[in-house]
Symmetry: C3
Subunit: 607 residues, 3 copies
Amino acid sequence: MAEAGISWVRIGEFAWSRLEPSAGVFTFDWLDRAIEVLSNAGLKIILGTPTCTPPRRMLEQFPDMLALDAQGQPRKFGARRHYCFSHAGYRAASGRIAEILGDRYGRDTRIHGWQIDNEYGCHDTVLSYSDAARDAFRDWLAARYVTVEALNAAWGNVFWSMEYGDFDEIDLPNLTVTQPNPSHELAFRRFSSDQVVRYHEVQVAALRVRTDRPLIHNYMGRVLDFDHFEVGAALDIASWDSYPIGFLSDRLEASAAHKIRYLQQGDPDMQGFHHDLYRAVGKEGRWWVMEQQPGPVNWAPFNPAPLPGMVRLWSWEAFAHGAEVVSYFRWRQAPFAQEQMHAGLRRPDDAPAPGLAEVTQVAREIAQMPDIALQQAEVALIFDYPSEWAWTTLPQGQGFSYFALMLDAYRALRAQGLSIDILPSTVRDLSGYRLVLAPGLATLPDGLEAALTGAVTLIGPRANAVTPEISIPLPMGPNLAGLDVTVTQVETLPPQIARTVKGGGALHHWVETLEGTAQTSYETDNGQAVVKHTGNLHYLAGWPDATLWARLVADLAKQAGVNTREMPEGVRLRATQTHVFAFNYNAEAVAFDGVTIPPAGVHWWPV
Amino acid sequence: MAEAGISWVRIGEFAWSRLEPSAGVFTFDWLDRAIEVLSNAGLKIILGTPTCTPPRRMLEQFPDMLALDAQGQPRKFGARRHYCFSHAGYRAASGRIAEILGDRYGRDTRIHGWQIDNEYGCHDTVLSYSDAARDAFRDWLAARYVTVEALNAAWGNVFWSMEYGDFDEIDLPNLTVTQPNPSHELAFRRFSSDQVVRYHEVQVAALRVRTDRPLIHNYMGRVLDFDHFEVGAALDIASWDSYPIGFLSDRLEASAAHKIRYLQQGDPDMQGFHHDLYRAVGKEGRWWVMEQQPGPVNWAPFNPAPLPGMVRLWSWEAFAHGAEVVSYFRWRQAPFAQEQMHAGLRRPDDAPAPGLAEVTQVAREIAQMPDIALQQAEVALIFDYPSEWAWTTLPQGQGFSYFALMLDAYRALRAQGLSIDILPSTVRDLSGYRLVLAPGLATLPDGLEAALTGAVTLIGPRANAVTPEISIPLPMGPNLAGLDVTVTQVETLPPQIARTVKGGGALHHWVETLEGTAQTSYETDNGQAVVKHTGNLHYLAGWPDATLWARLVADLAKQAGVNTREMPEGVRLRATQTHVFAFNYNAEAVAFDGVTIPPAGVHWWPV
Amino acid sequence: MAEAGISWVRIGEFAWSRLEPSAGVFTFDWLDRAIEVLSNAGLKIILGTPTCTPPRRMLEQFPDMLALDAQGQPRKFGARRHYCFSHAGYRAASGRIAEILGDRYGRDTRIHGWQIDNEYGCHDTVLSYSDAARDAFRDWLAARYVTVEALNAAWGNVFWSMEYGDFDEIDLPNLTVTQPNPSHELAFRRFSSDQVVRYHEVQVAALRVRTDRPLIHNYMGRVLDFDHFEVGAALDIASWDSYPIGFLSDRLEASAAHKIRYLQQGDPDMQGFHHDLYRAVGKEGRWWVMEQQPGPVNWAPFNPAPLPGMVRLWSWEAFAHGAEVVSYFRWRQAPFAQEQMHAGLRRPDDAPAPGLAEVTQVAREIAQMPDIALQQAEVALIFDYPSEWAWTTLPQGQGFSYFALMLDAYRALRAQGLSIDILPSTVRDLSGYRLVLAPGLATLPDGLEAALTGAVTLIGPRANAVTPEISIPLPMGPNLAGLDVTVTQVETLPPQIARTVKGGGALHHWVETLEGTAQTSYETDNGQAVVKHTGNLHYLAGWPDATLWARLVADLAKQAGVNTREMPEGVRLRATQTHVFAFNYNAEAVAFDGVTIPPAGVHWWPV
């Protein structure tokens, strides 16, 4: 590792059965030896708490700790993440193992950071329908609504005689005859996110008093069932696990042609989006890639190898977006168990795997380069987990996805050469930003509206369309001061259908009908307003296709005084204070700005 | 409402939690006020029994009242229709609430009619696999077969050693290793339909003695799991809930091109089919549309808005088919709960929604028009619920659907400009009909054959193909006096394959081989008989495509002395004693018979 | 039957409820009469044990005998095969009914053979997740691994803290949060196969001592969840149930065009493959077709009729591959229960069905023909059930199928006019074979490598890629003496993508990266080795398309001195000592070798 230029190493994150082979009996000798060896080689160690993989014995103590799926089936031992976040006994046990590790290694100077648990929510594990979850949900509801009458009113339970007489009558919103009340489901999603936070904070508390080193969690790409900002609030550094090729085939709405074009590269915007997101999740913008795909993985529907150069490209892209560290998963391919076909930097027989040379090259390049200094972007995009939950709960049209809408907006911005800051909906100071986009923001929090006044701003579709309880607000949305626009009707369209827009492009998936005196700046060929605005504040009445997005971004940027440039397909820019980087996600070389960027190539210019 | 020309209003159909907020405690004041306000405005009220939405508390009394799905999972509280039709306790409770409402409002002259429950069977709720259903099924079997030996013989249980020694050994036909005995499954479907009838009749009995006003149920479109004729037999008026755009995307076998063409209009034949069906279900032909789609709804995969004009078109089409009343669902869009995205005639903020103007126009037009008088059609189509169950139980080929076959036949007739009466298979007097079609009639009831002698008649495919117990009859079908035809072999074909017919058109999906001395009037290019007939009685050996249907209908109509005319695509006629109506389901204007019917337009001529 | 030339008849295989109508009460009179009638007509009888269909009463005695599916749901009574192979009580009961039948009929000279049970594994019945299975699995594991530490080591349970402290902690590998440890799943699959063998052997033991007649099982096509070689080891004759048209639509990976082309014929290689497989399964090559499709069946997604001639073709193809007997299912179409739409040789009304004339023709032709003498083929293909389980457990790419890979190889050989012997991986003597193919052989058993030295041999992809415990071996595969090749990387590709090969053809689905000094004989257009070899031993680095397969087979055959000829599409040859047969699976006549073979026709030449 040291020879390859690697300086950080994460260990221990799944090792509970070896740390505590029987209840209360701990064996640290193997870990001590590992720490010794790694540290002697000059590597800085991140130690993981092993709570993602409770050992089998834990089930003897807590037979009811298993999560249950929406069909009421137990999610059994035999893989990982089988615990229910709401199980108090397991939550306490997780705190205890964190305390024990903290007691032993918290002041060990060889341990330079801590990872808590591993990939919360991976494998759809946030929502659990166990008895523990049900009981905790009732408590959470009682705390939120105080009286069941208040809950009935907030949810509109008069509809279909769904009124409750007592909090103990409220069940989890699964297995209903047809869809449950969306207020019920959204409450359960808010609760479930809160349970992750609550579970998480027990370990944070255990470690904070035992170490001064940074606390980290490694989020998994496109896991959206809990609020990462809230988990991140208790941490020092955000990190995420980046599997560009796996995500392309498994977690991306895209055409077959797009998936074929980027088969061995990954989507050109998926990584940048997450980089920018986790820069916002991390305290003071501190963030890492904790796991970077180094070769073919095992878990996607199809698992091709990265094109030569992509491991380097992904690494540099992360650094250009501000990553402090890019770590690779894994060092050596494990020859056994579930991930035996997951490539490492070394093969199972310990020979170098193809990714290793690229990693070594990156390390050499990094060493030779002056530090990259970040700068605030001119463009901000607001990302809001509760909006994801709201629209998952109430999609109105098959396949409506808040994340996909956000990624489309992000893609449109980057296709115009822009660098972006992603911000939470809790932001109240947008000074310095010239252009702000907030598509799909279900409920504008108090205070955000005021912050939106400075920059050129695009909100909609579905902006302020529901209350926090998921009902239609009165007056109806978006209900923004200074913008006389009301959404009076909503339509969802099948994939083959679009409403074409004068001048080019179209709305698809989602179309709103607008009313109000604000000025119409775009309209459909049949005269329906697509964008209305007053001054800097623009409302977008649907889901644009790529052509319309390009027009919108170019026009808004011009109004905002932000320079754009149309990028070649598959090429992305990232501007820092010190450098401008270009990344070529294509399998062919691309001429750009006087240079030829090779396939899967990176180029940078000092500013 | 009164200003819009609305004269009827339905209330109370989901209000149990407000009518009886705790067990035995009733609050009628809010309902009394509503009745007073509505009645003072001149509106005639339909009062619903709220049994579709039992309140949460009912589960304390009857923990086992929930329906179970075929996987054995409870269908939990939190939406609607969660009760099992076989639960005796809930059935009695439903009767009691009907009695209480009848006692209070049965003689109230402001109440002009009663709706019992709401949309029986919606959300696949007829079949329940609960213990209550199992026990009731055993009783039903014992009553039907008397001895278990008779049941074994009727079902052919000697096959695969499925013989039972006692009725109590018979389980519900779910979760079997491979398909259950079709006789077992069909018996369960017959039983399940009977349980709906039995449940229903308790409320009918409760109300009959307490009111003289008509009793009504609102059937949901394409819900086929119970016999509507049998439920309707106890009622005065049939009504149905018509959601043309929702049905197009959710409940119709059709090509993608068809679904795009009619995206904002609905299928041109789906509404007419149901109108004609419910005219047969209603006593003496009395029927309503209880819920007419007024704008985008919330529950279909995609929910676009109706084209301007369609709300008027749908309303007029209903009147042309004999509806006494067309009521719209709903008056005001509810801002909360499951249907918050379901349009009303008024928006959530009480401003008029687009549909209201069309409704007002229809009311004005109706007021200015002399009454429409119906007449018996020249063409009859026989619709039979047990055939739907038989072929669902024993489809023989993927996707075989009795309903789709019937709708194809209906579509072919209407594409030739014909008006149609739909009749139950219990009909014994077909006098006045010149042409009768009965495709897919699984078992010809005793007596129907005799009634078929007058008109030109087309039966088949699958006519008299099974006994009422779903076994192959001997002699084999169709076994009709005066028609020497036997089906000797049956084939099902994948969608890409068809057997082309001499002269044009083809059979697809389903093809039978015929034997017998009857004359062959159509045959495939490779010489297989497609239609054989003797005199007026024709047997059809498969499922025709649209081209072959058109030929068949034209030829049979000619033989029957019925005039046809080929209609422009998407235009439909409906003839009454007093008027002929034309409906243009296209998004473009169509020239027809000297007039230009605008997009989504209606035209009528006095006779 | 006798008139049609039929000489064998199978009876009794589902008749338990009639043999033993109540516990311990037997009624043999009906069976005695049947035996008498059939025997008097000169028919040789196969008597079946009825254990595939335990009567309902058995559930009173063994309520826990039902198999459970992977969701933990019982597989209920009401069809067949509902028993769990691991239930000791039912296993004993199965032995007892075999004893009773053996006692009564074992020495009856009219009984010429015995069929044990019926279609083991049909309807996915090998894997059961019952308590009986779980307990037996623990015992099986304890026997296999002796200590739980050994099991932990073999499975790599240190991964994700999956270590067990006791065999009783080990559950069945269903319902885990994400995939279970593949070692765990493979062990369960091995165990499940062993349970079939163990269940089977109880009946074998019961009959062996009671009869000298051959014991037979009728395997179902493409049922792969248990090791047929191991079940067959205890039997005298292998037989299988051949439904070419049902298999085409239900059990074959193929393009839509292929499925349409062969809609009424079946795939041209599916039957031959199974014939050759069961010749290997049968003791000393003895095998039958126990059930031959005679017309349209009832259970496939679509059920068209065989083209005229196909029943004869299928029969002759079986004889050409060495079948001793071809029996048809069924004699008369049963008019009731699940298979009422399954054609027989006679119709439900006892008239001859279309297949009967062809069967009669075959019987006449057979009678006129000198015996067919088989010969060892020049080409061998190795088929290995554990490889099927290994790759089902660890597919690495969506849809990877060992069976499909094998069938592709088989198809490529037959498309070159070759006759093939299929051999188990336990073979140690390959003398006489000039060309041996062993694609996808997960683990080369000890001793096989040595046997591979004589012939021209092609192994790979995935050859020796895992240990018997499903982990990556060190040194990594294929690790063959005399062939310096190592697979260093594996990729799976989506269906639209392929890696083209210099000279024509491509790899799809699966691509390996090779390293080593062996000579490269094929490579991709971008220079990746596709085949490497040293002397006669060739390693194939991926899944060839049809074009590449054709090139490979032609080249390897040439090297082996085996003559090939490119066959017309859909025409297949089969060479015996005495005759060469040609089968035309096309719906059109084909000119071949100076003769014109009619559609669905057979031609043979004496050698």
